[in-house]
Each structure stands twice: as C-alpha cells, then as structure tokens.
Symmetry: C2
Subunit: 421 residues, 2 copies
Amino acid sequence: MQIDDIAAYMAHVGAAARAASTAMAAASTASKDRALRALAARLRSSADALAIANACDIAAAESAGLAAPMVDRLRLTPKVIETVAEGCEQIAAMPDPIGEITGVKRRPSGISVGQMRVPLGVFGMIYESRPNVTIEAASLAVKSGNACILRGGSEALHSNLALWALVQAALADAGLPPDAVQLVQTTDRAAVGRLITMPERVDVIIPRGGKGLIERISAEARVPVIKHLDGNCHVYVDAEVDLDLAVKVTDNAKTQKYSPCNAAESLLVHAAQAAAFLPRIGAVFAAKGVEVRGCERTRTLLPQAVAATEADWATEYLAPVISVKVVDSLDEAIAHVNRWGSHHTDAILTTNHPNAMRFLREVDSASVMVNTSTRFADGFEYGLGAEIGISTDKFHARGPVGLEGLTSMKWVVLGQGEIRQ
Amino acid sequence: MQIDDIAAYMAHVGAAARAASTAMAAASTASKDRALRALAARLRSSADALAIANACDIAAAESAGLAAPMVDRLRLTPKVIETVAEGCEQIAAMPDPIGEITGVKRRPSGISVGQMRVPLGVFGMIYESRPNVTIEAASLAVKSGNACILRGGSEALHSNLALWALVQAALADAGLPPDAVQLVQTTDRAAVGRLITMPERVDVIIPRGGKGLIERISAEARVPVIKHLDGNCHVYVDAEVDLDLAVKVTDNAKTQKYSPCNAAESLLVHAAQAAAFLPRIGAVFAAKGVEVRGCERTRTLLPQAVAATEADWATEYLAPVISVKVVDSLDEAIAHVNRWGSHHTDAILTTNHPNAMRFLREVDSASVMVNTSTRFADGFEYGLGAEIGISTDKFHARGPVGLEGLTSMKWVVLGQGEIRQ
C-alpha cells in the first residue's frame, strides 16, 4: 500500500486502536474466547488464500536473493498454520487474566481496598519476517483485552495482510471491534518511528529481533519497552557439588540448543572443583565441538581451551562457544555474574544450602536457578501458558512475560458513604 | 559546594550509589531497621545542629524575597523533626518487603518455579524545598534495600546536607554502606539533567513538584519515571442514589481540602437526579464559597453557576472551584471521565450494583471508587504504611505507591538436576 503521509496514517491507525481498546477492555471472556476459536477455524479453512499470499512473499524474497534460512522463516506451511491455530485454541482455554480482584481488605476508615487486573490498553509489536508472530500477537491481545498495532517484517507483508484479514473477521464473528488489531500496511521505516513515539495512542512497545534493532527502538521510544537485549547466561559450579549433576546440567545449558537466549554462554567453576570438573565437562564439549575460551587456570586443566579476553566475559555467542573462568569464592562468582552478565538467567550448581540462597538473593537477574538448566527460562516451562517476550528490565514485567505482562492492577475502593476526616 | 565538572561529579555519585546498592540488597532486615531507629535517635539529638543549618537556608530565602508559604515549607521546626523521626520508626516497624518468595509451584519438568521480591537498585528522587522529604526518601530507600540519589530544592541545601550527614551516620551505625544514600551537593540544574539520563547508574526517577517540572523530567528521562501530572478527579452521581450520601461524599471530595491531588475537580450528575441533587450540593458549595462552572442544564438548576468552557472539563483547579455537568447515562459519564480525566481517582455514587461494577471496570483510572470520597486515594488510607508517590501511569506501579513500588519480582527456579529435553 502506497502511503504518502506516514504521520497522518500512523495517527489514524493509533486512534483506531485506542478507540477499539475501550470495547476490548470491557469485552466478556466468552466473546474473547469465541474470537480466538473463530480465528483458529478461519486459519484452518483459509489454507488456499494464505498459500497464495505467502507464495507472493516467497517469490519476492527468493528473487531478491534472501538467504535460505530467512526464506524458510517466511513460509506459512500447513504445519505452521496448524501450530498457530492450536495456539489460538490453547489461549482460548486459558483463564481470563482480566477482572481478577485481589487483596480486598477493610481499612479502619470503613472503606474496603483491593486491586483489579485490567488491560494496559494498546501495545505495539515490532517483529521480523515470521508471519506466525502476527497470529501469536493478535491472539495475546484478544485474550488480554488489549488492542494492538502490529508491524511485521516487510518481506512478510502479503502473508501478514492475509492473516490480518482473518483476525479482523474473527473479531467481527464474536461481536468485537475488528479495529482492535491493526496491521501497519506500509513497509516505510518511518512508520516504526511514529509507532514508538505516540504515548497518547500506544501504551507499550514489544520489539522482537536483532540487538541493534531493539537498542535503537529503546533509545528512541517515548513509551515503555518490554525487551531483552542479551542472554549472557552463566552456570556456576560451586565448591560443594554433585559432579554428575553438574556435568549433566552444564552440558544441557550449553549444548541442548545453541541459539536460544537462555542457553549458557559462560561457565564459572570454584577452584576447589576445577581439577575434578573441568576435564569431565571439557571432554563433553570436545566431543560436541564446543570451543572453550578459558582463563589461565582453565587452560592449565583444559589444553584445548584458547585464551579468553575480557570481551569474552560479556559475549552472548549463540554458538558452540563457551567462556570458562575459575573463581576462588562464591563472592567472586556473584560479582562476576553481576558485572558481566546481562541480567537474564543464571544458575548455581551446589549442594550447599546457604550458598544456594545467597546466589538466589544476590544475583541480580530476571531468573536465578539452583541445580537446573538455564534453558528452563521460558514462559511455557514456567507455566505462564503463553509467552509475549522476555524482559531483562526490572520495571513492570521481568523475565518470561505472560499475559499478565500486558495488564496492570488498578485500585478499587468500596465504601458506604465514608468521608475523609 | 563548587563543582566544575557536573558530568564527572554525577557519574561519581551514581557509581557510589550503584556500588552500595549491592550491599543494601543483601542487607538483613535487622540491620536496615537498626539504621532507621538510629536515624530517628540522631534526628532527635541533633536539634541544635539542624537548627543552625536550617537558619542559614531560611535567612537566605528571606533575603532573596521568597514568598512566606515557601519559607514555611523550608522550616525544620522541632515538630517537623519529631514527625520525620516517628516516620523512621514506623517504617522500621513495617514488614520487610524484600526476600518474600511467592507462588512456588512444581512444574511437569520437575523444577519448582516462584518469584522473589528484590530491590530495584538505585532510585533518584527530585523534589522541592521541603527538607523533610530528604528523610522520608532516605528511610524508604533503606527499608526497601535500594540505594538512592536525592536532589532537593536548592533553597534547602544546607538543611539537606545536615540531614544527610545524620543519614550516613545512621547507616554506619548499622554496618550499612553510608554511600547508599547520596545527596547531590550542587544546585546546578545540569545535575538533574545527568541524574535522569544515567540508566547504568539509576533504575527509576521519582519527581515531586509542579506539573511543568515533572513533564520536563518525563520527556527527557532515559529511565522509567514514577509520576502523576494531574489529579482531575471526578464524582459521578448516578440515576439511582442515596441523596444524603451523595451530598455528604461530594462535599467531602471537593471541600475537605482543596490542594491535594485526590480532591474532586469535576462533578457529573445523571439527569434523573439533577433536579433533586444539584440544588442541595449547590447550597453547600455556595455556603463554602466554592465557585461552580456548569453546563447549560446545570445552570438552569443552579443560577449561581457560571458557564463552563471545554477547558474546564480538563482542569485541575486545586482551589474552591468545581466543574459540573449533567449527563444522560452511565455510558456518557464513563466516556466523559475517560476523555477528560487524568486517570488518577474517580468515584461513582450509586445504589445500583451493575452500574457500580461497570464503573469500576470501565473507568481507566489508577483508583476507582464506589460510594466514597476521592480523598481516600492515599498510601496510608490504603494501608501501604508509607507512600513514595502516586502514579497515573499503568506500567509497573499504579495509584498510591508503597515500598513495593521500589521492588521487582525476579523468578527463582529450584531444581534437582532437571534438564530441558
């Protein structure tokens, strides 16, 4: 779609979302769930229309020479469509977070004071060329009673437009305002600049994508951003430890999958266990082709290790590489994690209870773990039912963010004519 | 204090606070409470030193021709000192918010997942020339396990320096790092500009003061801000209502005190009650000298009312003035509050249960009330024990903010060697 005045267009999109957000906030659980099930049905019955739109994006991407893995992410295969349809049904089956009233207490003045969970209003989602995210974001918006404005990658525009038409039809099926889910219909990047600087229309921005993109959005946004930049996650093997457990968990944290943000990137080992532990985990890493970048003491125990530089302590490799450091104390380990980590997810492996508790308290990360793999830092593994994103900020939502991250608690006060003296 | 390089000075202040925040986060409840009680004792035993410092500020303010009410706010009278000392003791007596672990649940994978309440880290407080706020902010920081950087009004600098010395001594008394509470020792406004743009040193900014100051800080800050700009609070008198209750509560909401942000500024009356209610409340307002700015229908019932303009619907008077509008439905009342209000505190007066519930759900304000006075929107009245500020934002803390607003919930995961499949 050719749009000449991006500012006016985005103001229009924002106003439509804001207007629809009022009806969404007041929508019944039944109608929201009906919209989600209607969306699932429409996805399944629209395979042909989706395939045509998707083919258009794929052809353009291939002729533009897009790398094969990027083209693969674009594909709306029957399997991808079934997965997002099932996702809609799962979200429909979850409890409604909206309307919950908690902690109502009678005060000495006679009033009763509690809190009610309500939607934030309008969220903006900025993401890359994975059309399935369009449905995920729309379904989270519907369930949480928010409106949303979606800005997907430009390579997926035709697919996103086709999916968006299904979302709007499903909202109408359930008597909800189709405007509640908006899709930015231009690939002009100026639209993103407007989206993140409209506090009167948009309450929060959720970016997904590369670190550079997210840093730029965070720097320029005039509304809160739910984001994580890095997952430089640590495993610390304490002085008292079950070595078999330590080998198994460290292996899993690093090698079960290299690309997720919750994979371990750095291993700290207490000096008392270095000679026993490092050769064992070193053999695992060698067998799996994981490069070790170690401190000097690590290198005396693991000849295959190359010398780590300071930059290694701060690096999220997302690859078969790990930095390894021998430390002399729990204090040194905690200080290292807080200094070099990214406040995402860090684990201690120990049999010592006070050490476990100190690590939990003092490591300043969104998820802190004892005797288990950092790979568990995930909304589904935590039981949130759905994951909107992961936050490494401390304000509002922290760590894996579920539907509640798209809500706020307002105060409700019930009286019988009480007045302030 | 003459400081030439503000950027370097603020970086130093921020680094000291950040370094101290680690020890504060790990501090025991006993040592934090010991520091608070030591501070109360030092305040009481330092009356002479405080009087000398305060006299210096008062003399400068008077010779600069500061208005008398402003000079009064500056005064550290024995009563003010006793009040803040008691405040420290009250905060010491409150439960420690830090370390609470909630919602631990076993997951199918075998891990147990819950959340632990921890400090945010470092907050910056920017306030006007009320030296008592220095002690309030410092004591909230100590109890919540945060470090803080205080930037009080320049007219109170000598008083604040004297109070700060007591805070640092009290921290030392309890074995806590004196650097945990920092006071900006320059009146150069560039220091504020630095304070609000150091995300690596400061996690959140809490400004107190005029709307212009808070708007400027919000626009320029590179960290989250806990704030409210306006308290344009509404009372809506529904079609079904106890008229005696409505007169009593409306009177209290408007006239009990004119200056607080939770005082009512606008009155909406359902048409079905206008003829019965408006003359009664009009007589109350006339007797108390409250000016009424009304819509046309209001003016036919209240001859004393002047004509309201559109600007009146958006105005927080903080004075004996109220805008009054007759509405034809609950929908119109809710739409008016959401359109013109400031999302602070709004009340419905009604005997109709469905209408009460709709108002609670659909009015998008930090506090929504039924049959009671907006004046109750207050941290102490809500039972928070202490109030850091009031937030009209929806992100993180909303409404009256207690110690919990200075904390975040991180995830704790307890395992026994579980790995991700």
